[in-house]
């Protein structure tokens, strides 16, 4: 039994410190996932916390039939999509990022003018992040899971509970949409 499996078992038996260790293993990953999905740090924190509360509530029902990481990402995906369905902020459609919280952050933290190269890099990063967040939820989630978190097609199919062919076509369409959105930058 590996370390994570032991932690899960301990947490399932009510060991709070084991649960905290599990949280620390996944907190950044899940927060980042939620941030890429929402493009909002505030919403990402709220959603990530909601994910861990659901994990806490349902830990006993985790039987180890799938990997724990797959299970926790499934909860994260469902939590983000639920929020989207409820009409809260999980902004999509617009692929034209405007001024946003990160841009403000950059201005506030940099008293010295940034080197031009750095400004361009940050602007590219900013635009890319906004373009990902602007995709439909099922597209942005496959982009995040495949290209940022490096999950295989099979694992993504397991997380999203969809056929492999769907994963393949979603990844393909999501990347094509990003190419179109970032055309200026890419040419």
């Amino acid at each position: 039994m590996n370390d994570e499996a032991l932690l899960i078992e301990r947490a399932q038996n009510g060991d709070v410190s084991a649960f905290e260790e599990l949280v620390s293993l996944y907190a950044k990953k899940i927060y980042s996932y939620c941030y890429r999905m929402t493009d909002s740090r505030e919403d990402a924190e709220d959603l990530a916390q909601e994910v861990f509360i659901k994990v806490y509530r349902n830990l006993k029902s985790f039987k180890g039939n799938s990997r724990f990481s797959t299970w926790i990402y499934r909860i994260a995906y469902n939590t983000c999509v639920d929020r989207y369905r409820k009409g809260k902020k999980l902004d999509t459609v617009s692929l034209n990022p405007g001024k946003n919280e990160d841009a403000v952050e950059i201005e506030l933290v940099s008293s010295d003018p940034l080197p031009e190269e750095e400004v361009i890099k940050r602007e590219r990063y900013r635009k890319l992040q906004a373009c990902i967040a602007g995709l439909k939820p099922e597209y942005k989630t496959v982009i995040i899971l495949r290209d940022i978190q490096n999950y295989s097609y099979e694992e993504i199919a397991e997380i999203l509970q969809v056929p492999l062919g769907t994963v393949k076509s979603h990844i393909s369409r999501a990347r094509a949409a990003l190419c179109d959105a970032l055309r200026e930058m890419l040419e």
């Binding site: 950044k28 890319l128 990844i171 990003l178 190419c179 890419l186």
Partner: protein, 269 residues
């Protein structure tokens, strides 16, 4: 290869998801088609750019705020459990009340009989038991029909009636076997039970705390079970009542002579 097909294959090609023949055909197409070649280069760049995005740092205070929310969750869970305990308590009060009503009804209906038999009972011996029991069970069944109560309630009423009558000697004289049959669900009989729970917070420690309250000592403990030393029928009853408040109790042991009981906590879906 058609350009539309080629563009569909670019993404899986980048991930190495095409079989050798498809990959070869796509490579040949890209070689000869500048539009698809450009698309391939763009998509490769996009994948690299997205892949270069780093994990976000957690906001300051994330863990503290999560901790606070989890603690609130635990409190809510406790309130929920208390509520559930309360509901079960109400259920037992209801059963007790129903039993009391039945006893009263029996007493009123058979008042004459009671007055008549009462003087006899003072000097009663064990030989009076069969007559008394058959009478009680008849009364019990009559009551069952009229009140529509369960077997268990009828049995409770019967027992209560006999106790009310001062029939203690007869009751005590009964063998333990018939006592077990009478109170089939009333206490833990074997050396092992399964406690099926839905509440993730029920642990062997939870059971230990409950056991201590009834003067029951712990013998052993594992991750999902606890073994307790039970020295009297009262302790077995008390333990059963405690377990019933926490979940569904199922006898799984085969040794009915043991003075220990192992309770295995089983999570119920």
């Amino acid at each position: 290869m058609d350009c539309r097909v080629a563009q569909e294959l670019i993404s899986p090609y980048i991930d190495g998801e095409l079989d050798r023949e498809e990959a070869r055909q796509l490579e040949a197409h890209i070689e000869s088609c500048s539009g698809c070649r450009q698309r391939f280069e763009q998509m490769k760049t996009v994948v690299q750019m997205v892949g270069a995005l780093k994990e976000e740092e957690l906001p300051d205070g994330f863990s503290d705020r999560l901790q606070a929310r989890l603690e609130a969750e635990q409190v809510t869970g406790m309130v929920h459990r208390k509520h559930s305990r309360f509901s079960r308590w109400i259920k037992w009060v209801g059963i007790a009340a129903a039993a009391a009503v039945i006893v009263l009804a029996i007493r009123v209906l058979s008042l004459d009989g009671l007055l008549y038999t009462s003087p006899q009972e003072k000097g009663q011996t064990d030989s009076a038991a069969p007559e008394d029991m058959s009478k009680s069970s008849m009364e019990g069944s009559q009551d069952e029909e009229s009140a529509g109560s369960s077997d268990r309630l009828a049995a409770e009423a019967e027992k209560q009636q006999r106790l009310d009558k001062g029939d203690v000697g007869v009751y005590d004289a009964e063998s333990e076997t018939s006592e077990q049959a009478r109170e089939a669900d009333g206490y833990i009989k074997s050396d092992k039970v399964e406690l099926r729970v839905q509440d993730v917070c029920i642990t062997p420690q939870t059971l230990m705390i409950r056991a201590i309250q009834h003067g029951i000592d712990m013998v052993d403990q594992t991750e999902n079970s606890i073994t307790l030393k039970v020295t009297s029928i009262e302790q077995r009853k008390a333990l059963y009542r405690e377990l019933e408040l926490l979940g569904v109790v199922e006898e799984v042991g085969t040794n009915f002579e043991s003075d220990t009981v192992t309770i295995v906590i089983v999570e119920q879906e």
